[in-house]
């Protein structure tokens, strides 16, 4: 978007100089059995081709599921890959491509993904794009390769939201999943917390303290328009979207302590879901819409519970330890990420809901706000390193680890957006 008026060469240069405020991603752990894949240099328009392949490579490498093999020489989509040579280099798959300049600054990029062992073409998609859409195109190519080789959707084209706190300033930012192209959706002198994406990825609900108290807003990202979804007497917080995007579960204190309510996304029709004498907060819908998981101190210490969306009995979900908070369901609804306190350390934990087996995924001490990637493979969360707030991501098997940080600022409250259709 930002580069729309720049000529492609400038665009390619511009994105190699990352803005200082941008998130930088550092890989701190990788999967055990990484798939060896060669991404050859594409042929045709050289600068555009280089920009594309460097982003595709970075995406696949960052996922922790691939090891990159040097292809040796450029490879067009129309050329049969040198399979014997690639096999000798240890590659299981190879990607070639070509970029053709068209009228009005547009490009056609044709890609061919091949299986080196079987010497067979796995697919050859084509992408029409402008010079300003190089990164977006590269993410699409990486998503294609990822899905063909792993069988699950790639998330390189998705976006993330997070809050950056610098001295006296809070910014709600939206960036590509790799941290680039960050844009501020809201800048405020007062805190912003709990951003969460609508299921269609068009809106964010969040809590802003700009009125000197917590108020829930719904913000349309494309138009920049927003409205108040909940501003009752007392505090309004912890918004969660229903899977159909029509309702929000929110926490209100209008009738006493923090309790769970449903409200239509436009702010109308408030109804109460559950009742306790203590604290109920952090609601989250299960992906099938059947249950709402939440944190409550009704049993004496904060634990995770669930209630059917139609009402009825409240079931306790966590039992180990005396502080289990911030429930987040995986996209397939089979596991639950949450924050557990272990001997004074707050750590990201993952529970298999069928067996109740729980695994601690991190070795840090101040983990907060987990958020699943829409394919369920990675969990993004906030933590603290060297006294500074950073974002980190860990794969649901605990092997792949990444750190995302911004220079000289605290980053917190991450929320991974939905898949781009």
């Amino acid at each position: 978007m930002r580069f729309r008026r720049l000529i492609p060469a400038c665009a390619a240069l511009a994105f190699s100089f990352a803005a200082q405020a941008q998130l930088t991603v550092e890989i701190t752990g990788a999967g055990a059995n990484r798939l060896p894949v060669a991404i050859a240099d594409f042929t045709g328009e050289r600068i555009v081709a280089q920009a594309l392949t460097s982003v595709v490579r970075a995406d696949l490498e960052r996922s922790g599921l691939f090891s990159l093999i040097d292809a040796g020489s450029p490879l067009a989509d129309s050329t049969t890959p040198p399979f014997e040579d690639l096999k000798a280099r240890g590659a299981d798959a190879v990607v070639g491509g070509s970029v053709t300049g068209m009228e009005q600054g547009r490009y056609e990029t044709r890609v061919r993904l091949s299986d080196v062992q079987k010497q067979a073409v796995l697919g050859n998609p084509a992408f029409l794009h402008t010079g300003a859409q190089l990164r977006a195109t590269a993410h699409r190519i990486a998503d294609y390769v990822y899905e063909k080789l792993t069988g699950e959707p790639g998330v390189f084209s998705t976006r993330i939201a997070y809050v950056v706190k610098s001295t006296g300033r809070y910014e709600l930012k939206i960036a590509d999943a790799d941290g680039s192209n960050d844009q501020a959706a809201l800048a405020s002198r007062e805190p912003i917390i709990s951003p969460t994406w609508s299921p269609d990825g068009a809106k964010l609900a969040y809590v802003s303290f700009e009125a000197k108290k917590p108020v829930v807003y719904v913000h349309d990202l494309a138009s920049g328009r927003r409205h108040v979804a909940a501003n009752f007497k007392g505090s309004n917080s912890a918004p969660a979207w229903s899977p159909d995007g029509k309702q929000l579960a929110v926490v209100l204190t209008k009738d006493g302590s923090s309790q769970l309510y449903l409200v239509n996304a436009d702010g109308s029709g408030v109804t109460r879901i559950a009742t306790s004498s203590g604290i109920d907060t952090e609601p989250r819908w299960s992906p099938d819409g059947q249950h709402i998981y939440f944190t409550s101190d009704r049993g004496g210490s904060p634990q995770i519970y669930r209630i059917a969306t139609t009402g009825g009995n409240v079931e306790r979900v966590t039992f180990e330890g005396n502080y289990n908070v911030t429930p987040r369901l995986s996209p397939d609804g089979k596991s639950l990420a949450f924050i557990a306190r272990n001997g004074g350390r707050f750590q990201l934990a993952l529970m298999d809901l069928a067996t109740k087996q729980t695994m601690i995924l991190t070795d840090s001490a101040k983990d907060e706000s987990p958020s699943f990637a829409p394919n369920g493979r990675m969990i993004l969360y906030a933590t603290e390193i060297g006294g500074r707030g950073v974002l980190a991501a860990v794969s649901s098997d605990g092997r792949v680890k990444q750190k995302l940080s911004v220079q000289a600022a605290d980053v917190r409250e991450p929320a991974w957006g939905p898949l781009v259709r």
Partner: protein, 185 residues
Amino acid sequence: MRARHLTLPLLSALTLLLAACGSQPPAPEQNPAGVESRTPSGVKVETPAVKPVTPGPAIDPYSIAALKDPKSPLSKRSIYFDYDSYVVKGEFQSLLTAHSRFLAANPKMKMLIQGNADERGSREYNLALGQKRADAVRKALALLGAKEEQVEAVSLGEEKPACTEATEECWAKNRRGDMLYSGEF
């Protein structure tokens, strides 16, 4: 922000005081007091009556000015809590009594109670904990005579720490309820 709200009323009060000292001539649009501009020849001389006012105490203990008077308990606005607790401790009873009397004496005054929590743990859970603390302060004030509609209890959770080091001393300062009056929020 707070200082700016303070200076305006103070300045206008000072101006009024100065004007009341009476060394200035009456404003032109006003009729000079006690002098009648009649034309008849015989002028009747009258001495205008002066009625003295008995001076009250320097500052009414429940006046708005007392809120800013460092000698008044009303200038103290924070109630501190123990870890993971939202019980108002006995040591704050007299302070809460002073504020509830002030609210009763000034029914148009509104109060916003902002509950706070230390940084450990979930932001949203800490927001709920701060709400419990603000609510405990609100209930204590209501018991002591403040009206329900005068007071709103909200939470800032762990978002507005008074102290930012990761020490127990610092965390203790962040587990608090702050009382703000109309014009301060």
